[in-house]
Symmetry: C2
Subunit: 689 residues, 2 copies
């Protein structure tokens, strides 16, 4: 019988979780953590051999908690712990929580980076620390030897110990392990480590791998399969450390640059689906090989994998024909989370490894968007967050803990530099920053590979080395915004041909005009068509966002998160000046990088996050922009810079926007005759800045 807890029992506070409780003296710290629901890893089950359960005592007087914490309040190292320290080493201050008992008040830190087999961390996927509760755990047990009087099979005796030592009840076992079981158990001299997978609501746990003796490492992969690039992290399930990350181009590009051309390829070629499925799986196998080589990890130690992808990549990866996604009503074959085995997908990792795919939100809003939502968590907060992932399609999620709505908007490839006359991919020599003097209309810019502005000393030498080759996606936003701010284009997006007479930068091309950004080889200009392409893209994005804001009944959003590579490079100010995104305090607009990859990582490291996003996706209201009668008007309004009707009050406080035209009933933004702006007007603007 456990003695009752009294108020004179020691008080123990676990950090960083902040969970606390009183425990009788002599309670093992690991047991206390478990009773409080604090996740502390352990493979050996308290035998002081795996070293996974390390903790650190925080010494001092924690007046706020009423705790005076000291290493003296932990039992002295016993023989087992000393043996571990001698054999495996134990960093200064580290203790094995399975072997240390509580003898007084304590503040205990659970480090999230317990390094057992030293691994080189090549790249931090994220600075965030994720609480762990992985779907796969390693459980070491010592199996009873066979007994003729109680002729239970080896597996059955293994199960007895898994239940006794780990609370694993009636596990199933993967078929391929049946033939290995007896030799593994005997090779380990009746000591065996079982990988136990447990996921889903009330599932039967499953033994998915076995090793003789103590096996002290288990890894997982978290992977975002994008249309153009695939990003993968290799993570220790036992410490949460990302041991390697790598990216690769999606080889499906050879079947079509954008998703719809890949769907067409499937529809046109009898074995197109199969070829594309095999292409993406082969790329994943290569990437797995790469991250394993980088991290010094055996693929056989990878026991769990989480994938996210847009709906078409999701289907192609699973071997599902994506044709239905190419036409209304855009029916997903499966929208819920998918549980599979790695071998179902020809992935060359441990034969018993499991695979989890996050749910898709809708036919155009995939598991990648769900993962981004999981990462950024609009559903976890009170304030209204707009989460945008801009690509060929923009996925838009808007919500808070009370209600979340989502949509996709067909922005087209303009933001990625395609359909722009001088557009190019982000590469050395590409223009990435642009400023235009509002008086002289002369530009200055920076190119990728150089830290200097084009009007700074030494730029020419660097430009000679790198070349000045084109405009990358982020700079297109910037140059159009600067053209707007400097009066070169009107709020309707028309390049002011009147300026050609006063500036050599304004060139006439038949009936329209263009802006000469760099007169070299190649000659880099922004044409009226380029501006139109950006207007169309941003209008599609903004109209989608505005639609969701209408659904939520709001006029402004509290914060904006840009997911994806595009968001990492653009300047939020210029995005807002162009009216890509709604009015918002600029400090609350942040790029969050590969949020989809982060979300995959969270789902890999903690299965409660899987339940969280499954429940969230279930509640997200999906808006199909094409079916909304209001979308067309919102789109037309959004063709203007920044918008024909929306005021952008907060932006105006930080940026001087060109004076608005008087509102007109005119509903066509595109072909309106550009208003002429006098030099005087422009001078006045300049003086305000």
């Amino acid at each position: 019988m456990k003695p009752p807890v009294t108020t004179t029992d020691p008080l123990v506070l676990f950090m960083p979780s902040g969970k606390r409780g009183r425990f009788p003296k002599g309670t093992a710290v690991l047991d206390a953590a478990r009773q409080l629901g604090v996740y502390v890893e352990s493979v050996c089950g308290g035998r002081a051999t795996c070293g996974r359960c390390q903790v650190v005592v925080q010494e001092g007087n924690f007046a706020k908690h009423g705790i005076v914490s000291s290493n003296d309040h932990l039992s002295a190292k016993g023989a087992k712990e000393e043996r571990y320290e001698r054999v495996r080493g134990l960093a200064d201050g580290r203790r094995l929580s399975c072997s240390s008992t509580i003898e007084g008040d304590l503040v205990i830190d659970v480090p999230q980076d317990t390094v057992i087999n030293a691994q080189v961390v090549r790249k931090a996927a994220t600075d965030r620390v994720f609480e762990r509760n992985p779907a796969v755990r390693l459980c070491y047990v010592e199996v009873d030897e066979p007994d003729m009087h109680k002729p239970l099979g080896d597996l059955d005796r293994l199960k007895v110990m898994l239940e006794r030592d780990w609370g694993v009840k009636e596990p199933a076992i993967d078929a391929h392990l049946l033939s290995e079981l007896q030799s593994v158990i005997r090779k380990g001299d009746w000591g065996v480590t079982a990988a136990v997978h447990r996921d889903e609501d009330d599932p039967r746990p499953t033994i998915t791998a076995l090793w003789p003796g103590l096996h002290n490492e288990a890894y997982g992969i978290a992977c975002d399969i994008g249309s153009t690039t695939i990003a993968m992290h290799l993570v220790s399930l036992l410490s949460g450390r990302v041991v390697a990350s790598a990216g690769a181009s999606n080889p499906q590009i050879r079947f079509g640059e954008d998703l719809m051309s890949r769907v067409s390829y499937v529809m046109m070629n009898p074995d197109g689906r199969q070829a594309m499925t095999e292409a993406v799986r082969a790329a994943l196998r290569d990437l797995i090989g790469k991250v394993c080589a980088d991290g010094g990890v055996s693929p056989d130690d990878i026991l769990d994998a989480v994938f996210v992808a847009n709906p078409i990549m999701h289907h192609l990866f699973l071997g599902i024909d994506p044709t239905e996604l190419g036409q209304a009503p855009f029916a997903l074959a499966v929208s819920g989370a998918v549980h599979l085995r790695a071998q179902d997908l020809d992935l060359e990792i441990n034969r018993g490894a499991r695979v989890y795919l996050l749910p898709c939100i809708a036919g155009h809003v995939g598991a990648d968007a769900a993962a981004a939502a999981l990462s950024e968590g609009p559903h976890r907060q009170d304030s209204m967050m707009l989460l945008v992932d801009v690509g060929t399609n923009a996925e838009i999620i808007l919500g808070n803990r009370h209600r979340t709505v989502a949509a996709s908007s067909p922005t087209g490839p303009a933001f990625e530099g395609a359909e722009i006359s001088s557009g190019q991919r982000a590469a050395p020599g590409a223009i990435e920053r642009v400023r235009i003097d509002p008086q002289s209309l002369e530009p200055r810019f920076r190119i990728i590979g150089s830290e200097k502005w084009s009007d700074e000393e030494g730029f020419d030498e660097e430009a000679a080395r790198l070349g000045i080759t084109g405009i990358c996606g982020s700079a297109i936003i910037e140059v159009v915004a600067e053209m707007f701010l400097s009066g070169i284009i009107s709020e309707d997006g028309v390049i002011d041909g009147q300026l050609a007479s006063s500036s050599p930068r304004i060139l006439q091309n038949g009936r329209t005009f263009s802006y000469l950004l760099h007169d070299g080889s190649p000659r880099i200009t922004v044409t009226q068509n380029d501006v139109r392409a950006i207007q169309l893209a941003k209008a599609a994005l903004y109209a989608g966002i505005r639609l969701l804001m209408e659904k939520q009944g709001i006029e402004t959003v509290d914060s904006i998160r840009f997911a994806g590579a595009f968001g990492s490079y653009i300047d939020p100010k210029y995005a807002m000046v162009l009216g890509l995104i709604p009015d918002c305090d600029l400090d609350e607009v942040k790029a969050v990088g590969n949020a989809a990859g982060n979300g995959a990582l969270m789902a890999l490291l903690n299965r409660t996050h899987r339940r969280e996003i499954e429940g969230t996706v279930h509640r997200i209201e999906k808006i199909e922009t094409a079916l909304e009668p209001n979308f067309q008007q919102l789109f037309v309004n959004a063709m203007a810079l920044p918008n024909k009707v929306d005021p952008f009050t907060k932006l105006s406080e930080q940026v001087t926007l060109p004076q608005r035209k008087a509102r007109s009933g005119d509903s066509a933004g595109g072909e309106a005759v550009p208003r002429r702006r006098s030099r005087e007007e422009r001078a006045a603007r300049r003086s305000r800045e």
Copy 2:
């Protein structure tokens, strides 16, 4: 809201289950059956299209139940039922329970043989009717078409209907179906039949197969993999009908006649295990092909399979090295029930088909013995049943609902005719019945292929045609027992050489004698060694049985069941005269044929039987005869005919046994000098008969 049930509501009795209840008028008979837990099949979910839910009204006054039942008390046939009758046909008196409502008191018979797609029943596996509750059910649903406003995937919308119409909650789905799903659903114009597998204690159901539209047939196989023969039944899971049965030799015989020589083969040959696994799986694929051809069934319609086998065959079939079973402590790799997929075992049936293996009882008492126990059910009754399966090893189970014990005994191959000088397999020309005249010592016999005794007219002609080639296993029991009853051999098993002078049937061979059964070509004799071989075999069997009786604290058993081929051919009287089996009322000794196959069939048709045998096996006490100090003495006692110490009182009431020797302290039964018996004594015995 359902109206409350009142005592004026019609009373409905379902047969053969005997379950009864009152239901408001207008309740569909199918719904009433389900509410009472009466199993009535249905695939279409009450749409009157599958025809599986047929019932028959028993008309008449059932005074005992207080029911006057009439077809008038059922609603008239509605449009749907009439349409079914017109299109598919409905036998006289048959009604569709989904479409017939209760309008008055009824006695309703649920036929167990509802034939939908007429199948030729080639062989009745058993006369017993098994209540059905299979692990795999077919569920027809009509899936909502995709809706852009609620972008659930096709699978997710299928799941909604499976829950709504069939109560199937949150099913998993086999990976290979993901890629077929959309085309199947569209091919069926949004109507789809799902095979849903549900087994184990609180499992997640799984969708294992899908068909467009209504798919109205599902089959299973029940198979007993014996050391020498494999027996398979093909059964409709929807009607319980056995549509085909077939048997084949186990091709592993080429690796070794008996199990231990097969284990040796594995130990001696590096790829021996793999070769034997592949051999048995290939044989199973052939048998599946055969039963499917015989039954006119597509292998793709086989969705479930149950296998039973002795431990070594069980392991080899699963791909497990059986070496541990060849040596103490005879450790099974797995003793519990095994759940697999057909594709794990390279069986060529539906890709999503499931496989279930019954639990093994111990290292020498396999899933076949468990299946025999399930079939005969000692654990289901109050009286004490002995269940014996005689092969190279005899598996012995003794028990009742309170306690069951089990053991195996190494009888060797003597009972199968091996190690017997004139022994042979049961084949035309083999002697199968023997009588010996106790006065003249002249034999008469019958041979397989002829109905005549050897002293009957016309026998010689038939013998000339068939040949008289040897003694089959069952006849060996009989001839030795007759030799004992006629005084040719003593209770110690010694052939009385004194008789050689008075009978030409007693021949001297050096220091021992033999009995000439047939003086032809070949000459068929029973040698002293033959008698010894039978004594050793029967002593091993009986000592094992007696050991279990001691464990149970009983002196006699209430009933004896012989499972397996051997039991079907031997005469229980002679088995008892020889002391193979303990004293028992001869009317209570029965051969039950392939009880293991029957048990497999039960587990296939009703998953509650799986739980039953799993629980029973868990409770069975396993006795390892080799570890029991008493076994040696019981064995020595059992060398005598019928036994040195056990009285065989009941047998004596029905058969005149030779007078017993005075009990001696002599423990060696074998080499004692045979007591001479005078002609007078023999004459006296004869006059008593």
